[in-house]
């Protein structure tokens, strides 16, 4: 068989994939898009964009930078507290352990950056026209969606966890200067690291769902900002019990009950928070999957 060459180029037997040339051969069923192949394709797509790398590095830099900054601020605050009985009382009312949340102090920015990454992963497919290639190769569509979900969630988790760890390492000597101790191996530290990293992975999943639903980068990112930054503040400013109650159910307010040593007033119970966050992830994802399957590309 001469492969797809122009007439002028007589070509030797090319290294065409098994079962490729003769579509009537029985090997054809082996040649299609399995989930792991689609996942591999999405990993290639993910790592071959400079913008992805920039967003991941930015996340790490912001997390570590905020960790160090927050260690310094916490040290200053603790210092002041030793001379000021009022401040000391405030410290005591916050459970005494100021240093524990220093490594995750940049999480609000990590969730915005990695959430945007989730949006872009799908919206850019549609804005550039790549979607036609992607969904011609994977016409069942959902394997590609699931592969993107795996890629963005795993990456977000790993980057957040690693950046939190490094932020902790950077914070320890700074805190030590002020006589504050931070044990990165304590169960509360590990819990904070894991829950926050899972949370950021969840935000990235919500971003992917928004990007799939809206097919527009600006729209997806603005929706994300609306849910995670505008709504919590707006709900706080609007008077009335309804908004005070509703505020607890915003995804951004589920982390505190999930990580606090004891129940914090005006937040959900930990199990409730877990369910609410789960719903915030699942509902948009299911909607996005259904619409992706049904709509024209």
């Amino acid at each position: 068989m001469s492969s797809l060459t122009t007439e002028s180029t007589p070509s030797p037997e090319p290294a065409s994939a098994p079962g490729g040339r003769n579509p009537r051969s029985g090997a054809r069923s082996l040649a299609g898009p399995t989930f792991f192949r689609v996942l591999n394709s999405e990993i290639i797509k993910f790592r071959s964009l400079l913008s992805t790398l920039i967003l991941l590095v930015s996340t790490a830099v912001v997390m570590v930078g905020f960790g160090a900054l927050s260690a310094w601020g916490t040290g200053q605050f603790a210092n002041a507290a030793t001379r000021d009985p009022q401040a000391a009382a405030r410290v005591a009312s916050q459970g005494g352990d100021l240093a524990i949340s220093v490594p995750t102090s940049g999480i609000a920015f990590a969730q915005l950056i990695l959430g945007s990454l989730g949006v872009l992963l799908m919206s850019s497919e549609f804005t550039t026209g790549m979607a036609r290639s992607t969904f011609a190769a994977v016409p069942k569509r959902l394997p590609a969606f699931a592969a993107k979900l795996v890629v963005v969630m795993v990456t977000s988790f790993v980057v957040t966890a690693a950046a939190t760890w490094v932020a902790g390492l950077a914070a320890v000597p700074i805190l030590d200067n002020y006589g504050l101790a931070l044990d990165l191996g304590s169960s509360q530290s590990v819990k904070l690291l894991l829950v926050n990293s899972i949370y950021v992975a969840d935000v990235a999943a919500i971003g992917l769902a928004l990007g799939t639903l809206l097919r527009n980068s600006a729209g997806g990112i603005m929706s994300l900002v609306g849910i995670f930054f505008v709504a919590p503040i707006a709900f706080q400013l609007i008077p009335g019990d309804f908004f005070k109650e509703a505020r607890k159910y915003l995804p951004g307010n589920t982390v505190e009950p999930l990580t606090a040593a004891q129940h914090v007033p005006d937040t959900l119970e930990a199990w409730q928070a877990g369910l609410v966050l789960g719903a915030w992830v699942l509902v948009p994802l299911v909607l996005a999957a259904i619409l992706l399957k049904r709509r024209d590309v």
């Binding site: 001469s2 492969s3 797809l4 060459t5 122009t6 007439e7 002028s8 180029t9 090319p14 290294a15 065409s16 994939a17 079962g19 490729g20 040339r21 579509p23 054809r28 069923s29 040649a31 299609g32 898009p33 399995t34 192949r37 689609v38 591999n40 394709s41 999405e42 290639i44 797509k45 071959s48 964009l49 400079l50 913008s51 850019s124 497919e125 550039t128 026209g129 790549m130 979607a131 036609r132 290639s133 969904f135 011609a136 190769a137 994977v138 016409p139 069942k140 049904r294 024209d296 590309v297």
Partner: protein, 307 residues
Amino acid sequence: MIEASGLSKVYGTKTAVAGVSFTVRAGQVTGFLGPNGAGKSTTMRMIMGLDRPTAGSVTVNGLPYVRHKAPLREVGALLEAKAVHTSRSAYNHLLAMAATHGIPKTRVHEVIEMTGLEAVARKKAGGFSLGMGQRLGIAAALLGDPQTLILDEPVNGLDPEGVVWVRNLVRHLAGQGRTVFLSSHLMSEMAQTADHLIVIGRGKVIADAPIHDIISGQGRSRVRVRTDEPERLHQLLAARGATIEAPDRELLEVTGLEPRAIAAAALEHQVMVYELTPLVASLEDAYMELTKNDVEYHSLPAAEVSK
């Protein structure tokens, strides 16, 4: 083989494709001709399972595209030159496409070489010229070494060398027994490439016939000639069997003689010619000619074809 039956697509209130039925056979190049907005791209997207038909159905080798186990090995498509992420290199684009079907890297290098993209393969696809984008799209279509090729306006934006290359490529592929379905809005391009022609206008199939039948149905090629001795040239050319119209002073429109033959006649008799332009039959001409001759090439009604 591609078989469409009663295929329709309605976007809101606009009907893009209105119940088309046709068969694209293996072993020949089938042209899909129609003006912009006639429904060519929509039809091709429906074949590829990207757009859902409002009514009707279309199959490739007996199955809807979506149901094929290895779609890229079954059908290769160039749907739009820039169905590529603009920030990704051509090589990585092809690598990612190949990965979905476990197609090896060697094949990626092969299609890059075939399409002449070696020099730009590592550059961002967003910076490609239209012609380079077309070559990348064709490379992607060839990845799975498919039995069926669907090419939407493949020569759009290509330089003359590229046009000839595409022409040879599709002829070669059809010669291997593959199904080749390519669209264009240029009648002249089709005339040189296709064996069979499906003409579509306003979402309906106007003609579905071998290319010879369609070409001979509408006028032969004409040449516009400007000369300061129109009467004398008129006689000379008429003597050589040409049909001549004289729409203006010093202007002749000659049918039935090649520009070279006209120039030779003029040179031989020392008649000065200051313009010699081949008038390529535009789609508009063919299209109007075809709608006039509707009856001769009319496709079968959907019900009869699909029965």
